[in-house]
Symmetry: C3
Amino acid sequence: MHGGFAMLCAGAIRTKNTMNILLQTILDACVSAIAFYICGYGFAYGGYWTSNQTYSVPPNSVIGTSLFGLSNYASENYNNQNVNGQVYSVHWQDFVFQWAFAATATTIPAGCVAERCNFNAYLAYAFFISAWVYPIIVHWVWSAYGWMGYGRAVTPHLLNCGYIDFAGSGVVHMVGGFSGMWGCILMGPRMGRFDSNGKPVDMPGHSPTLVVLGTVLLWFGWYGFNPGSQIFVNSVAGAQVVGRAAVTTTLAGAAGGLAGLIWGYSKHRSWDLLGVCNGVLCGFVAITAGCHVLEPWAAIIDGAVASVVFELVCIWFLKLKIDDPLSAAPMHGFAGMWGLLCVGFLAKSEYVFQEYAGNHPDSTGNLYNQAAYPYGAFYPGGGGRLLASQIIGICCICGWVAANMIPFFYVLKLFNSLRISAEEEAMGLDVSKHGGSAYQPENQKVIEPYPDNG
Amino acid sequence: MHGGFAMLCAGAIRTKNTMNILLQTILDACVSAIAFYICGYGFAYGGYWTSNQTYSVPPNSVIGTSLFGLSNYASENYNNQNVNGQVYSVHWQDFVFQWAFAATATTIPAGCVAERCNFNAYLAYAFFISAWVYPIIVHWVWSAYGWMGYGRAVTPHLLNCGYIDFAGSGVVHMVGGFSGMWGCILMGPRMGRFDSNGKPVDMPGHSPTLVVLGTVLLWFGWYGFNPGSQIFVNSVAGAQVVGRAAVTTTLAGAAGGLAGLIWGYSKHRSWDLLGVCNGVLCGFVAITAGCHVLEPWAAIIDGAVASVVFELVCIWFLKLKIDDPLSAAPMHGFAGMWGLLCVGFLAKSEYVFQEYAGNHPDSTGNLYNQAAYPYGAFYPGGGGRLLASQIIGICCICGWVAANMIPFFYVLKLFNSLRISAEEEAMGLDVSKHGGSAYQPENQKVIEPYPDNG
Amino acid sequence: MHGGFAMLCAGAIRTKNTMNILLQTILDACVSAIAFYICGYGFAYGGYWTSNQTYSVPPNSVIGTSLFGLSNYASENYNNQNVNGQVYSVHWQDFVFQWAFAATATTIPAGCVAERCNFNAYLAYAFFISAWVYPIIVHWVWSAYGWMGYGRAVTPHLLNCGYIDFAGSGVVHMVGGFSGMWGCILMGPRMGRFDSNGKPVDMPGHSPTLVVLGTVLLWFGWYGFNPGSQIFVNSVAGAQVVGRAAVTTTLAGAAGGLAGLIWGYSKHRSWDLLGVCNGVLCGFVAITAGCHVLEPWAAIIDGAVASVVFELVCIWFLKLKIDDPLSAAPMHGFAGMWGLLCVGFLAKSEYVFQEYAGNHPDSTGNLYNQAAYPYGAFYPGGGGRLLASQIIGICCICGWVAANMIPFFYVLKLFNSLRISAEEEAMGLDVSKHGGSAYQPENQKVIEPYPDNG
């Protein structure tokens, strides 16, 4: 109940993302709130909660089918029913918390397509992701009857095991990151990003100060997402999970940052502070999947490797001539993917049991039955079932995103409304589209995230 | 108890306001804290809480008469009394929470009088508002014995019904907005704001980035004000109110932002991002009154209309040659007024009952007695009593503010200490008053909120 | 439990410090997290908490001896033990909360040595402080068996009374401030800071806006530190302490800010807004020691005097030709010292008893036994025992910091790796060390905290 506030904080803060694209993120929050209210929340959780704990519509493991426009909330939840009060009281807050995640997934692609995306295309994909693409995956993984969720009530579900993704390395970050990647690929690089020989030309950001400020605010916000994802903090076990999530999140971010520092130094012989910020964020993205089931030392490995994965994917993207201005796809897509794999290797049996058996006791009651709760392949007896689930989960998410976003962006491209015109791009978006004259000429540059050199 | 922290957050964050006037807001927080400690809190809540639940002074429905300098707190609340512990424990925190609102009301006028207000006048009005003007209205509306509060214990009170203002659309925002408006009118426009033909000359802000950052921080902060205003979150009903307030706040802000986007596009054929920010904030201001009693769909209407009201009032102000640099009066004064009216139309019976009957059961016990709790005129059976109360409430607040602030600013004007001299204004306040040489010349411009063109 | 979130917030926010050194603070957070995980937390609290409430290693009043790398946490705390559940559940979160303080202590010196510190020296001292210097003092004061803590179980402890430092005026701020001071002295002033006659040359900061933003964020963050330090908020008394801490913190900051305003006006006849920000922060630093045991009026005195102490020490530093770019040593070191003395004078008997007797009942049970809980010398009967303890505590902290940091910085100096070369300093650190070419030339200046004039 109280954790809800911290979550809300995070939600709002999260919309700030990397601060370079601040001007669009406020719209992301608006569009996603309306879209999530109209249909997103229904697709994600519809058919799950109703006032008398029976299901108004039969639960469906693939898609939610009610609660559109919060319709049931409004009519059923006004009176003071004390039965199962804890469950009722969380209803309304749950929408806001879930919206915070939806807004995050919606904001991520903006980094990939920055500086060349048509504004109508931007509005369209923001609505599409938060109303349809993202909620379906939420239903699969986080709703009580999703076919991919770990230890869910539905049978049969994924390998009779399920996929562990605590706060959305896959559900949120991979969805956002890969959606952005497809947009990025279909749009092509910014003018002048690669010279006539195909060599990349640096287009640095305009304000490291803002990047650092954004990183620090996200460091703060992530405590809302990761520890906050333990929604019901009313048991000792739950409180331990919250605490452990806070510890692993801290250490993974720190390890990611230091790995970024060392990587930058070994490559450039200078202390690259932008690399530190990226490393910290990659560490956070990766630990998001497993912050509740990893040991502290495992969190350090998780974060540090995520930072390296990120740097390698960035190099690979440049070779492929994919121009992702904020490196959002490597950070959220690929570091998130690594985080999910890491859970398959390093999830600790006792922690998995503590988290999932509490809510979903198995047939033998509350006794500790390791076999029923598959854990990481690294530990003796872990086996590969969880790891296999994680891999299948990753593939399903990637597939769903590609199946939706590639046609979506392609249709926009056919109608010539995906990318702005070359003249507009050369002028800069602020002048051409956003009534640039509203700002003073000498300050105009401040709001161009990446001034065009071409 | 725990909600208190979120409120504190909001309080501090709120002082940031629109970031253009950051340099004054830190002083607002200081002045209002001291003023509210010395007498504001006493005027607002004095005579209400004492250690043994009897009233040390007879409760008064017009003005508080004790607790100046937190005098009773210091002497009466040190020991471990367990009787009614919940009530005792909130005492100290309550001061800080209430101060956060006072600081908000005090900060709003700074936007109206920016760039031309004498610094002494500024200090004087900040003290005057937080020590006297604002607390009196708080006592009327929010204290247990105020004559304007909805369902209060005092009889007779306003239309035997009372006025609903959950987190201060009227108490906080209208007080701040209209105080600023009177200052703005009595000061006259900035030099060069209107040309010789009376046509307005644009004086744009210097940094859209800061405006967006401010908006996002306020989005976060508002969750402290609106959901946080349900002070006692210890019942299922209370938790539902918190959750509903979070949902309606989110949707109203989003709707306001989108309305601002559409308005801007239809007028200028460009995507005006400043308009989005203003729209979001107007939506928040409006929903502040009724976030606990409106349906989600009603919140969307509330926020969207607030944004339109704001734009229309801005145009009207320009016609009247009122120069409000940050549009603080249209935003806080008029959008707040709309929010209060909206409650009169759209407050839902069940929600009103849930909020107010829980704390103040009527004579028939806890049974659901619709007639005793008037609700919105839109719903069948609602009648006009609540709407009439809202309108009377609006008039009383406007009247009280005008009766205090017009003479106050007028006296300052008589003594020639309301506005800075023309030379100082042309030079810019930072250089003339704040030891501008302390900052480097080339960066000087950064701290002038609106450089003078004249 | 829930307060934990607010604390985490504060921790992250706190790393922002004054925003002028933002680029280093993110690394501080990373380095201190790893260092505190590896050994700092063990030195601070090792030997204290174990799973069955017996001590795995004998408690030691001088140094912690277990819990390195959170080793016990990982192995002992996975299962659902309900006995003493409250204590268990806080374990993991406690690490993050304590790390937030460690990160603060580690961040403070960066302000003292800004613009001339070798990056390796910076990494080394950050690790050294968070892994060794700071944790030892934490053990003395805050662990259950520290010899300096007020009313601790260990006997004999300091004057059979102990030293009161609620949230770290001494433990955190003096450690950071004096560590920085020694670095500052051993490094010498920046080039061009004092002219050939020894007169100081102004080297103003580049962005007052960022200073104000930092101040406001810290205002918000401090509510996490001070009220948040009452870790177990599960009693009425505890909740009162939280509320009182919030009130005193607010008032001390406000008083400090106003004192700074008046001081600046009386000296320069201009309203010095930077002085207000410094005053606010000094007020916060000072009240940190006694926010739980001071009356509101005492908090106002505390904060206002702290602001004056700060200004006087700044003048004294200039006379001594100590160049502390951000005045971090006067602010954190000396204002913190004043805050501790103030507790010795003004701690109120009832409040001291409420805070400390609740957790550590004396031999006569829970009855109110004033004599066993020494309080401030100002109140009748207070006597000087608490004041003497505070003075001894201050001396011990200063001595420990000097004994560690002087040799540490001296050795670095011997190996010529304390300060950057004169050429690098003239060029500016960003270009020479951090791959300045990564940023656009015209924006380069934005990230130089204090551009060199020499």
